[in-house]
Amino acid sequence: MIINTLLLSRIQFGFTIGFHILFPTLNIGMAMFLSIMEGVWLKTRDPVYKAICRFWTTVFALTFGVGVVSGIVLSYELGTNFGLFTNAVGGVLGSLFAYEVLSAFFLEAGFLGVMLFGWDKVSPKLHYCATLLVMIGTTISAFWIMSANSWMQTPAGYALVAGKYIVTNWWEVVFNPSFIPRYLHMILASYVTTCFVIAGIAAWYLLKQRHVDFARRCFSFAIGAAIVVTVLQLFIGDAVGLEVNKNQPLKTAAMEGIWNTGKALPFLVFAIPDPEQEKNLYEIKIPYMASLINTHHFDGELIGLKSVSPNDRPIVVTVFFAFRIMVGLGILFFLTALCGLWLRLRGQLYNHNWFYRLCLLISPLGFISSLAGWITAESGRQPWVIYNLMRTADGASIVALHQVVISLILFFLAYGVVFIFYLIYLFRLINEGPTEATIDTAMQPPPFTYLGKN
């Protein structure tokens, strides 16, 4: 492997975007959760729901701060490190980013202030509007960014003129073939992650017998919502699988470890793909399942990696294992939610410490699963930056190697510090829990007060 600007730029972009993804993943779900809880509070005026809103809003705010600063980096890093790529696709992707900022970022930022600090400055209904608008903003933001990313996977609606991509049909660009299933997949991944974060933290309170009333309602809602979103995710995940095989068969080949094109292929529970020998070692397989999953037919045909030359293949090991981690964790989430449903139906949701411990244990795994899914999608697209059209190697900026070394070190240091302190403060918030003050608004002073306002 040669250390060059391209490699370091890719490491840097992968690192910074992988770091960034964690925060919106939590907050897309958290914004939805807060919208629902605040709605329930407005309807019932039950102070526990108010406490739920206040407490999770602090978690949301902390997460949002890190999400914002790590997101700004990306909007410039595309240009600094992938100038040739951005020059070619500016007419297509630049517009989608502009729409993302106009329709989503400003909306989120504009109403975040009211949502976080406006509890006693605007009426409860107006505050609820602000919360809803922030939630809508996070969801629209994911819409545009997933559309842009999906266009890189399945480009459509363009013409290639003198090395530049020119849009011929905007509808086809935005709603490119892979967009809808991938967007829903991402949103649901976010909901699943958030459900288990909330359930895990609530389970911890319940294990410690702290804030019991508060924690039970959070736990009940999160475990209840988890069964809905994990089941939906099984269906959407399946739809994404079909879509990938249809539009990017080589990605499917890497995900499933298929070297030779064939029919009625088995699903590999475990294997070590060996790109040198172009075969898998130590296979454990379930017959017919790969064909069934990816084509919905037992004898469905799947394209093999050997159908293209080695330098047109993704790095199989990465895609293969990332895919298994994502799916494995997804199934674990589904089974846990199912277990919760079963306990609830028997009236024993709050009777078992082992279930609390299980929920606590898996609460951070949604992030691992989301990251693994993202690695599957992006590594599986390689060596292309625009699938089958432009190679990643042809997209990098021409900057001096040492400059990228400097930036890479700076980002490692900065994000390392940010991540450590984010976790410290997150755990501190969780440890403090919903304080008495947050239950009764009148006792909770705002972070600052004003003079001379009538």
Binding site: F85, F97, A109, G113, F117, L410, R428
Partner: protein, 333 residues
């Protein structure tokens, strides 16, 4: 043609909004070293707590619009400004996280105050380096040598310092509106000193710029341009003097005046910058017309701008309206 011009105006507007709004945010961080009390720092930061994130969104909008409307400029300028941009982004990270993190520390630890101040100063300086580099340009034709350190010259270092001072002035005049008593008193004094320093910097920059690039000299000093453009420096001078007067007089009825005059000063300086640079988007090398996206993209995106920009300006204003008024004390968050 018209569409390209409209886009150039939209991007110029976005960049100006960023400079103005994040300018006073960053200015507050720049002033931190001069304000030692924890309580006063709390008040200062509280005046921007609900709005900073929206202010910084203009930076993302500027970047995204440049990418959408002038991809050639986006993909040429950003690598050419690689290190100052990365420095700015990393500084903005340390500045941005301080907003949330400093309310979480126990026993009044100052670590995030330092992070906030250092981040703000570094970000402002990097932006100044970028402005200076923009005036200098990268030569008169493509390709731009992205590995050169053309952004690091005496001129760009000076514009870097000028931007720090300018933001300090914006920040202190913002705090004049937002605070009372002793803190406001100090802000008046700091604003006055910043204004003096900025005046010196503006004079140096204005005199130096024409010698950096012959075309800028021609732009300003050839006939008949000199007559058309002369009002700009005259108006800037008048605004400077009026601002001194307003800071000296401290009209309680009109505490917004210094901030408005400083804004006006930024508008004039920005216009001067645009006039010097016109019609280039990659300075002195590529014009707006040569770097623009295909018409299909310009049209598609301008629809969004026309529909959404009034709305977002509306709710941005609403947010400022909700959190208007003087901040007098802070509590644990």
């Amino acid at each position: 043609m018209l569409l390209i011009l409209v886009w150039a105006i939209v991007i110029s507007f976005a960049i100006f909004m960023y400079v103005l709004l994040d300018g006073f945010d960053l200015g507050i961080g720049i002033l931190f070293p001069w304000i030692k009390s924890h309580q006063e720092r709390d008040i200062m930061i509280s005046t921007i707590l609900p709005v900073w994130d929206g202010n910084e969104t203009w930076l993302v909008f500027g970047g995204a619009s440049l990418y959408a409307a002038f991809p050639l400029a986006y993909s040429t300028l950003l690598p050419a400004l690689y290190l100052p941009l990365i420095l700015m982004l990393v500084a903005l990270i340390f500045r941005g996280i301080a907003f949330e993190f400093r309310f979480r520390v126990k026993n009044k630890s100052r670590i995030w105050d330092i992070s906030f101040a250092a981040g703000s100063i570094t970000a402002a300086f990097s932006q100044g380096l970028i402005v200076g580099t923009f005036v200098q340009g990268f030569g008169h034709s493509l390709p731009v040598n992205a590995s050169a350190y053309s952004w690091f010259t005496p001129f760009s270092v000076m514009t870097g310092i000028a931007v720090i001072i300018g933001y300090a002035l914006l920040g202190s005049s913002w705090l004049i509106i937002q605070t009372v008593g002793e803190l406001q008193e100090r802000m008046y004094r700091i604003a006055k000193r910043s204004l003096i320093a900025l005046t010196v910097m503006l004079i140096i920059v204005s005199l130096w710029t024409p010698f950096i690039e012959p075309s800028i000299m021609t732009r300003w000093f050839s006939l008949p341009n000199i007559f058309y453009l002369a009002p700009l420096p005259v108006l800037s001078g008048a605004t400077l003097i009026y601002n001194f007067y307003s800071l000296n007089k401290r009209n309680v009825q009109n505490e917004r005046l210094p901030f408005l005059l400083t804004t006006l000063l930024f508008i004039f300086s920005y216009l001067g910058f645009c006039i010097s640079d016109w019609p280039y988007i990659i300075p002195h090398a590529v014009t707006l017309w040569d770097a623009a996206s295909p018409p299909s993209s310009l049209k598609f995106t301008i629809v969004g701008v026309i529909i959404l920009l009034p709305f977002l300006l509306g709710y941005t204003f609403y947010s400022y309206h909700v959190f208007r008024g003087k901040v007098t004390q802070t509590h644990e968050y």
